[in-house]
Amino acid sequence: MSTIGDIIGFNLIVIGPTLVLVATALLLLFCTITIETSVFIKQSITLMGILATIFTVFLKFGLFFTDGVSSYFSEKILLDEFSLFGNVLISLILLFNFTSIWNTSAEVKDKTTEAIILTLMSASGFMLMIDAENFMMLFIGLEIGSISLYALAGINRGDLLSNEAALKYFLLGSLASCVLVYGVALIYISLSISGFYDTAIAISYIGPPNVPLTTFIGFLLLVVGLLFKVAAAPFQSWAPDVYQGSPTGYVGYMASVAKVASFLVLCRLCVVSLRFVIDNFDLFFVVVVIASIFIGSFFATVQSDLKRLIAYSGVIQSGFILSGIVSGVNGTSASIFYMTAYVIQLIGIFIIFTVISGRLSSNFSIENISGLFVENKFLTICFSIFMLGLAGIPLTSGFISKFILITNLWSYESYLLVVILMLSTVAGFYFYLRPIWIAAIEKSESPVEKITLSRSHVLSLSVLAFATIYFGLLPNSLINISRWVIQNYL
């Protein structure tokens, strides 16, 4: 006699990370509004929450190794390699951004806890988004995640740039969500289903040539909604303003978490739902990739603001990652490697920006950082490693990811993309090396005060820089993980 719970597949472990994050956020909220709690206790609660999330991810691994790929809650929640990988990545992003977020929160007066609550809520949303089996769940997760991010961008209410960022992010982001949900509706109208696996089965059942046009339009809109979140051109216009305007300590988290979640969902969409009809989208994706490369490279070259530069570099990197996702399953695994390597460097760079943001009074124009690191060798080395990693110089993970990606693209016979992607790296060497030059080589005219690093920043920067070098020298482990993620679809 099976209970109703067994029938619908009720299992708290599967949504464990989401639950723990929400519970932590609620506990913090409770502490803030009822009892006078010291910052240290709140920080401890947050850290415990993040560690508990990591623990529940471990539990999910245990469940996965006994049950395999399976769906829960009436096929709303999926437990597969993508979701596990995404859970791990998001928990680690939270862990590494922990100090930056708290440091920045201390500077934004009166809203110390608000920011961390929003962060945890958005992480829970993106976790749900990766776990979703169903397009509606995907939408719910995306919205929970995104709305918190809009608020996070504008949390510094006194700052005009922050306000602008939040408004822009909110308006354009809601538009993208509308597009996405409309796409979901169209898919549902034409196929009467809305699951990742169900659509694949339906498409193979009716035969790819007979798939109604509305389904294609639906998928196209769904993809556009996701591409907006990863800031691929021509949907990138929000990124530079949001990166520039938002409080620096949050940007590393905001940028990486949305990218990771959306890219993993895109991967799953491409290798699962669209696996029989992915060729029909080739032209669209090629245009998006080329546009991202050109727009990103062009604007990054002429950028005078560091945060905007990183935003445009993010557009280029999105182009790279996307080019892999749409070129076969091996390309997808290369993209997962690429994305992980990129996120590591991105978080590292934003931790450094957080450290120096106090010196710059939020003005990240490139002249402002001249000579900033001359005195601090540790920051110079870390900054150089991350920037060189983004540029893709050998001995960093950036090179390996580009090599694997380009090799896959070439064997997929996308020669045009290979040439364009590679030429963009030449431009990359110009704009990635320029900040190193200005910050680390040029002497500043006015004396710079010495930068002191907190111990946790040193720790997280060392780990991230070490990872960048480690995956550049011994990439086997990460490559094996990225191949494990897609192993079912080979």
């Binding site: 380009i406 090799t407 070439w410 040439v419 590679m422 030449v426 060497f429 110009y430 086997n476």
Partner: protein
């Protein structure tokens, strides 16, 4: 043997780590440590000269299973040609540590960067597959970026960016070529095998061979550099600090020519036969153009930089002629140019430290105040011109002899390069060293001290040694030249 190779490769890196982690206040120890560290590769090269294996053509020494799921291996190997270039790198690094002034020798970053550069160059010459070759080829840029960026001259920013962008632009094509070759080898061997032994067993179609040759050669030619891709070179040389110039001219330019000899020609011979005439023409233009522009220079460092364009033109002419004699000459000339130009840049560095100017017109009559310096400068100039009995003559003579049988007219033009070399070097010598001292500051210049003599005399001795006993060097390059020229002949015969 593999332990030996890895020591040769990794010891400089290890040394740089020691330097970087040392406390700042023990800066007087940096130079002794650097000297000790660079002594090891130097000693290993000397030891390898006695090994019979090193006289042969390329052999694999060791393979590392690097990325299992793609079947990518890193292979390391050695041949007579790479041994000579490794020796050149080792001796130039060692002597530049001797020659640098206190300002540089007490800087962690400077000493460390040169050791990292040494590591990367060793990597290029020891690599036995396309991927590791590319990795080290690009990794060269990081230490050069900091060397030129931090310790460069006035216009360093422009020169550094130009150098980086030119090289990266070239290496993009090498990268695409590597990927293309990898995909072809994947379809025939079932794994991404890029090592030289596998590549030489793969038969590329004519189309593939031509494309791959173009991709690789374009990247390497920028590094050589060949006319009209040479414009980064004068700027980079002038702005780089002395030790940087020595290594840039002495070693980094050889990386390009080495790549063509090791990769482009042996594996993509059909492409080489298709395009060799274009390379030959460009080389001869480079020889004449570089020499003429050198005559017009007013800055002695820039003059030597342009002479490099001319000399590397000889190397490329020898390579493009593609017969046994010219190839041998080209490899020997690579070593010669490294020794001669390295010594000349070092000498220019000595005078720059004393007078803080490099304009030829600021000198005059230096042989009265600095007789030893004048003598050594004249000696190196003669070596650079190609005076019989010194090393330059051996290389250029072999190149001209060899290329005459392939390109009669072109080698005739190239011979003018030797005459022009005499004009620019001797005229510069005349203006700087002979006559009366007209500028009072030149009156009380100190002559070379012991440290400076130690750093430059070994190079002069080697120039003389190669000049009077060339068969020693020749015995190490013979096998490499033979293998390459046989391949070219085979394909030439096949096509006719």
């Amino acid at each position: 043997m593999s332990t030996l190779i890895y020591t040769l490769l990794l010891f400089p890196l290890f040394g740089s780590l020691i330097i970087f982690t040392m406390p700042k206040n023990r800066s007087e120890l940096f130079r002794p440590i650097a000297l000790f560290v660079s002594m090891i590769p130097f000693g290993l090269c000397l030891y390898l000269f006695t090994n019979t294996k090193s006289k042969g053509s390329y052999i694999d020494i060791d393979t590392i299973n690097w990325i299992q799921s793609y079947g990518i291996n890193l292979t390391f190997g050695i041949s007579g040609m790479s041994l000579l270039l490794l020796f050149l790198t080792a001796i130039l690094t060692l002597l530049s540590f001797f020659s640098v002034t206190e300002k540089y020798s007490q800087s962690k970053g400077f000493i460390g960067s040169i050791l990292v550069l040494h590591f990367a160059v060793n990597g290029v010459f020891l690599s036995g597959d396309l991927l590791s070759l590319f990795i080290f080829f690009e990794a060269l840029l990081i230490p050069m970026y900091f060397l030129m960026g931090i310790w460069g001259g006035e216009n360093k920013r422009y020169a550094t960016i130009k150098f980086i962008i030119y090289t990266v632009f070239g290496s993009v094509f090498i990268f695409i070529g590597t990927v293309y070759a990898g995909v072809i080898s994947y379809s025939s061997t079932g794994r991404l095998a890029l090592d030289f032994i596998t590549l030489s067993s793969i038969s590329f179609t004519a189309e593939q061979s031509k494309t791959l040759f173009l991709l690789f050669t374009f990247g390497f030619l920028i590094k050589v550099p060949i006319f009209p891709l040479h414009t980064w070179l004068p700027d980079a040389h002038v702005e780089a600090p002395t030790a940087g110039s020595i290594l840039l001219a002495g070693v980094l330019l050889k990386v390009g020519a080495y790549g063509i000899l090791r990769v482009s020609i042996p594996f993509f011979t059909e492409g080489f036969i298709e395009y060799k005439f274009i390379i030959a023409v460009l080389s001869v233009i480079g020889i004449i153009y570089g020499a003429i522009v050198a005559i017009a220079q007013i800055d002695i460092k820039r003059l030597i930089a342009y002479s490099s364009v001319s000399h590397m033109g000889f190397v490329m002419l020898g390579i493009s002629a593609g017969n046994y004699l010219s190839l041998e000459g080209a490899i020997i000339q690579m070593v010669n140019h490294g020794l001669t130009t390295g010594a000349l840049f070092m000498l220019v560095g000595f005078i720059y430290e004393r007078r803080h100017t490099r304009r030829i017109s600021d000198f005059g009559g230096l042989k009265i105040s600095m007789p030893k310096y004048a003598a050594i400068f004249l000696f190196c100039s003669f070596a650079s011109i190609g005076l019989p009995g010194l090393n330059g003559f051996v290389g250029e003579f072999m190149i001209l002899m060899g290329s005459y049988s392939t390109y009669k007219l072109l080698s005739g033009f190239a011979a003018f390069g030797v005459v022009l070399a005499a004009i620019y070097m001797l005229w510069a010598y005349q203006r700087m060293f002979t006559g009366e001292i007209s500028i009072s500051e030149n009156q009380e210049l100190k002559d070379l001290d012991t440290k400076e003599m130690i750093s430059v005399v070994p190079l002069a001795v080697l120039m003389l040694f190669i000049g009077i006993y060339p068969s020693f060097v020749e015995s190490y390059v013979a096998q490499d030249a033979l293998v390459i020229s046989n391949l070219i002949e085979l394909f030439n015969g096949g096509l006719n």
